[in-house]
């Protein structure tokens, strides 16, 4: 593992982990934010309506 390898790995993994942690933090601390967030499960295409 070269210094360049360490640098790229730590920068890449650190960035995506930090970004995800920040997003989850924002979703949790922003009042009512989860009410405006959607997953596929919340979307009612005709084929999932029973």
């Amino acid at each position: 593992m070269t210094p360049g390898g360490w640098l790229i790995m730590l920068a890449s993994v650190g960035f995506v982990t930090g970004l995800l942690a920040w997003c989850i933090y924002k979703v949790i601390v922003t009042p009512d934010s989860s009410e405006h967030l959607h997953t596929q499960a919340d979307i009612h295409t005709p084929d999932v309506e029973t």
Partner: protein, 370 residues
């Protein structure tokens, strides 16, 4: 073949019975569990050390180095950066495909959102989650583990998808409770794959139901038939995976890339960044910088068109891996592209018919109001 049949039947039974919503609700809990499983596997991979003392080079640090070291000494680093095919696949097949950008899924789901739904935070969170799984988990597990167990020769030329299924069982064997974790991991991975394939089928079913006014049974039967013909076509022409590779490239890489480029241009130049940014920022918990608008209007189209032109030039002049040459010389490639065109034309007809039907319904509604 049996596995393919099981997956095929399972997908269409779930769609037909309307159970896809239940599966996806279940996945709200199952997917975080999958990430926990992956973190356990990651912990094991990073503590593997040198599993075979007879081969001291095959250790964790060298495995991570194989994945992350920029190969500057032999010039392959710069060669990769100059390779149009690499950029096209990284953009189309990796980023656009894994985020479902460029094909109907996101547009279909977007049409079901409410006006004030938080598009900005939803998109950023799903992007961040996707990148975390691909870069932090995938990049630290599969390739390093494959290097440790198979060596350089075993890793070279194989896709990470293939490698994962070959290598991860070996990782599970070396950990306490590995069978339980392994079973859970692959089961959850299977569920994740089912939700992905369901989400790819749902827009087409939604079009058939809403656009053509067909019932569930007829819609599922029609889409099932088209999918079955495509699946059998790929199975029948399975020599060297020619049909699969051709369809994967023309649809899964190139068409997605072109459609996403078109959508980017449509956002920046058709809709306009003022209106576009207003849409993004409505109901958003995080302010989206105006710079994003300029990136979408100028940087993204230039980047995407440049990649396409470089790739096109390299493809035309390439001796190896030339998809145009394959299309000109290989009968299976011609049949595969022919199949793609037939399906594309069929769906265009469905869309044209749907538009006619919607216009007629709108006219009837207006007449009823008078």
């Amino acid at each position: 073949m049996i596995a393919l049949a099981i997956c095929f039947v399972l997908n269409f039974v779930l769609i037909y019975r309307g159970l896809s919503k239940g599966i996806e609700k279940f996945c709200l809990f199952a997917m975080p569990l999958l990430v926990v499983c992956a973190l356990v596997v990651l912990g094991r991979v990073l503590t593997l050390g040198t599993p075979d003392p007879a081969q001291p080079d095959l250790n964790v640090l060298n495995g991570l180095g194989y994945m992350w070291n920029p190969k500057t000494t032999d010039g392959s680093f710069m060669q990769s950066l100059m390779n149009g095919q690499m950029w096209l696949e990284a953009t189309g097949q990796q980023i656009f495909f894994s985020l479902s950008v460029g094909f109907g899924i996101i547009i279909t789901y977007a049409s079901y959102l409410k006006k004030d739904d938080d598009v900005a935070l939803s998109s950023l969170t799903s992007n961040a989650g996707n990148e975390f799984c691909e870069v932090a988990l995938g990049g630290l597990i599969t390739i390093p583990a494959a290097f440790i167990f198979l060596g350089t020769a075993g890793v070279a030329g194989q896709g990470t998808f293939d490698l994962g299924f070959k290598v991860l069982p070996q990782v599970f064997e070396t950990m306490p409770g590995g069978r339980v974790v392994g079973t859970l991991f692959f089961f959850l991975l299977f569920l994740a794959a089912v939700t992905s394939s369901l989400s790819m089928l749902q827009p087409a079913i939604a079009l058939l139901e809403e656009g053509l006014g067909l019932g569930r049974k007829a819609s599922v039967a029609m889409l099932g038939f088209i999918t079955l013909v495509g699946s059998l076509f790929v199975v029948f022409f399975s020599k060297n995976l020619m049909a699969l590779d051709t369809m994967d490239f023309w649809v899964g890489t190139l068409c997605i890339f072109l459609l996403a480029t078109f959508q980017t241009i449509l956002f920046g130049w058709g809709l306009g960044i003022d209106k576009g940014m207003e849409e993004i920022n409505r109901g958003a918990s995080i302010p989206v910088p105006r710079l994003v608008g300029y990136v979408l209007k100028y940087v993204a189209p230039i980047y995407l068109i440049t990649i396409f032109v470089v790739w096109l030039y390299q493809q035309i002049t390439a001796e190896k891996g030339n998809y145009f040459k394959a299309l000109a010389n290989e009968q299976v490639a011609q049949l595969s592209v022919g199949f793609i065109l037939v399906v594309a034309v069929l769906f265009m007809l469905f869309i044209a018919q749907s538009v006619k039907r919607w216009e007629k319904l709108e006219r009837q509604e207006q007449e009823a109001k008078r």
